[in-house]
């Protein structure tokens, strides 16, 4: 059943709507599992995941024991205009939760989303990095919620789970707003902005059914030999930021082991034909982020490596 959770007039003959697909089978007071995505309009992997989930659940409805709610587009205007944020609004939508019913339209929308989702037994918030970075499938968890959420995250079959430090500004994310009120929310990151990686999407779909299965919500046979993720703490992640502005060239893809001293890429000057900076790994580790957009300024993130010797 398609339900509209936000409906607001736009200036010229159009209704702004945020919709969800509610699929229920079994007891009505059973568990509720939410899958949300599209907060950032340039992150599209969640679209395929939502499609696959809805398709498979509809085709195997008898296997469902509870309710699955699918929210493909929390920021439909951003998706439509290929913008990360909400058009004509300064703030990142994932920095204004839990919203404000008396605030701007974006803040009212954020409030309505939280009110609709809260109380769920599990929420998966799917992100896809941005235009600039390519990410291997991972779950990100605030250190404050690690003890509670890591056991759920380990059942999703992602490459690794990044337990990151708390920051005040991150208290305004959808995930933090839900987790702080007792609704468990796992943030999944994978792929690159504006594109869909089918293989990664299928992996996450498999992982979601596996998690639902362990929660007693999905009775179909599921993949039971999912990879066990690396669980890492924030201080074991090395960030490689550009030392100079230029063009970053790399042959590497993310999701591989690298050794200390191995070349990750180089920053070059196309005008003079010179190498400006060699980029190499300072540790033995697992490369989980690699830059996808080649133009870099000083400081641009090029890669992230989790130090596997310490993990």
């Amino acid at each position: 059943m398609i339900k509209t959770i936000v409906s607001t007039e736009l200036p010229i003959d159009e209704q702004f709507r945020i919709r969800k697909n509610v699929i229920q089978h079994g007891p009505k007071d059973g568990l509720r599992f939410c899958v949300v995505t599209g907060t950032h309009g340039d992150e599209l992997e969640g679209q395929m995941v939502c499609y696959e989930l809805a398709r498979i659940v509809n085709e195997h409805i008898d296997a469902l024991n509870g309710t699955i709610e699918i929210y493909p587009s929390l920021n439909p205007l951003g998706i439509d205009t290929i913008q990360r944020g909400i058009p004509n609004f300064d703030l990142d939508m994932n920095r204004i939760f839990p919203g404000d019913p008396q605030g701007t339209m974006a803040e009212q929308t954020a409030h309505a989303i939280i009110e609709d989702i809260k109380g769920a037994d599990m929420v998966i918030d799917i992100h896809s990095s941005n235009l600039f970075l390519r990410e291997t499938p991972q779950v990100r968890i605030n250190v404050q919620d690690a003890e509670w959420l890591v056991p759920f995250a380990e059942r999703l079959g992602m490459d690794f789970v990044w337990v990151h430090d708390a920051a005040t500004v991150l208290e305004a994310t959808l995930a933090h707003s839900l987790n702080s009120t007792g609704t468990p929310c796992l943030v999944v990151e994978m792929g690159v902005g504006q594109r869909i990686n089918h293989k990664m999407c299928r992996r996450l779909v498999t992982g979601i059914f596996h998690l639902m299965h362990t929660m007693g919500m999905w009775h179909e046979e599921v993949e039971t030999t999912l990879p066990q993720p690396i669980v890492c703490k924030g201080d074991s992640v090395t960030f490689l930021n550009a030392e100079t502005s230029g063009i970053f060239l790399t042959e590497l893809k993310c999701g591989i082991n690298v050794s200390k001293g191995q070349t990750i890429g180089q920053i070059v000057d196309p005008l003079r034909g010179r190498i400006l900076s060699m980029v190499s790994s300072p540790v033995d580790g697992y490369l989980f982020t690699i830059r996808a957009y080649p133009i870099v300024y000083e400081g641009s993130l090029m890669a992230r490596i989790v130090n596997t010797e310490e993990s």
């Binding site: 007039e9 003959d13 702004f16 703030l91 930021n241 300024y297 000083e298 400081g299 641009s300 993130l301």
Partner: protein, 307 residues
């Protein structure tokens, strides 16, 4: 006056990115003023240019107090203004939401770190700021509530209003917030407009900044000019008026207008047949503190704030 480069960075295919500072006087780090942080803050850039111009004259005439120094950074983001972007053109990040910055981090974190390094340690700090909601304001001084906000000095600007507001999580990376936490008495001055130059509100803002400088003993030159006895309000006390319908927005009053209960403030017009969908009326007597200014509005958009 001394001109110095606060931060410089090469670019893949443009000229170098530079942030320039203008220093006046000698001695204690007394006042730092920051202009355009975003590429559309033209009013803020203009005001800073006039500040520099007037300070050059004041310094020449010996008008800067002994053992006091002033730093003015007219633009923290010339690259974005040159290409007509509000935020950092490469990745659309907002330098003003990167403070206190991180010199080993992403590009705009590094820019913020360099700016903050230059601004840190001043007794007073003024940022010519713009707001995330589009519209016109009565020029005013604004402070985030951190426990360190200095209301008495804020009144010395002599602007009509001094406002305070509760800091939300997304405010904790603003310059104003971090400046206060690092012991600078920080004031965000809103000059009414952002992406256009309004000479009247610019003059009013310039007068207010020079008035504050004179009243705090930073300069001893020039007259104070006519000042208001500022009233201090918490922004949560402002009455918010919203659009009941979306459509074309025809504003009937401006920021600063005095309005009475029942007075029409704006009409929202059906974009197809011209019928009035919403006759927006004042619900209380007061002064229009904020007025939305885009020609089309969404349903439930914030249109007016009335004191």
């Amino acid at each position: 006056m001394r001109i110095e480069t606060i931060f410089e960075m090469t670019s893949p295919c443009r000229d170098n990115f530079r942030i320039k500072g203008y220093r006046f006087g000698e001695g204690k780090k007394t006042l730092a003023i920051v202009g355009a942080m975003r590429g559309d803050e033209v009013q803020q850039q203009y005001i800073c240019s006039q500040l520099v111009s007037r300070l050059m004259l004041i310094e020449q005439r010996g008008g800067i107090a002994k053992d006091k120094s002033i730093l003015v950074i007219p633009s923290c983001n010339p690259f974005s203004m040159n290409v007509g972007h509000r935020f950092w053109a490469m990745d659309n990040t907002d330098i003003n939401r990167m403070f206190p910055g991180y010199d080993q981090g992403e590009t705009t974190q590094r820019i913020a770190a360099a700016i903050f390094s230059a601004l840190n340690g001043y007794q007073y700090g003024i940022q010519l700021a713009s707001y995330y909601v589009p519209g016109d304001f009565i020029p005013h001084v604004r402070m985030l509530k951190t426990g360190y906000e200095d209301l008495e000095t804020a009144r010395l600007f002599g602007m009509k209003y001094v406002t305070t507001c509760k800091a939300r999580p997304f405010d904790t990376t603003l310059l104003n917030y971090n400046w206060q936490l690092w012991s600078t008495k920080a004031f965000s001055v809103y000059a009414g407009k952002t992406n256009q130059i309004d000479v009247n509100s610019s003059s009013e803002t310039l007068d207010a900044i020079f008035r504050m400088m004179k009243r705090t003993g930073i300069i001893n030159y020039g007259s104070l000019g006519a000042a208001y006895e500022s009233i201090v309000i918490d922004e949560s006390s402002l009455v918010h008026i919203k659009a009941r319908h979306a459509g074309i927005f025809c504003r009937l009053v401006d920021a600063g207008s005095r309005v009475s209960p029942g007075q029409s403030l704006a009409h929202i017009i059906d974009p197809y047949n011209g019928q009035i969908l919403n006759d927006i009326k004042a619900t209380a007597e007061g002064t229009v503190f904020f007025a939305h200014h885009r020609p089309v509005v969404f349903q439930n958009a914030l249109l007016f704030m009335i004191d």
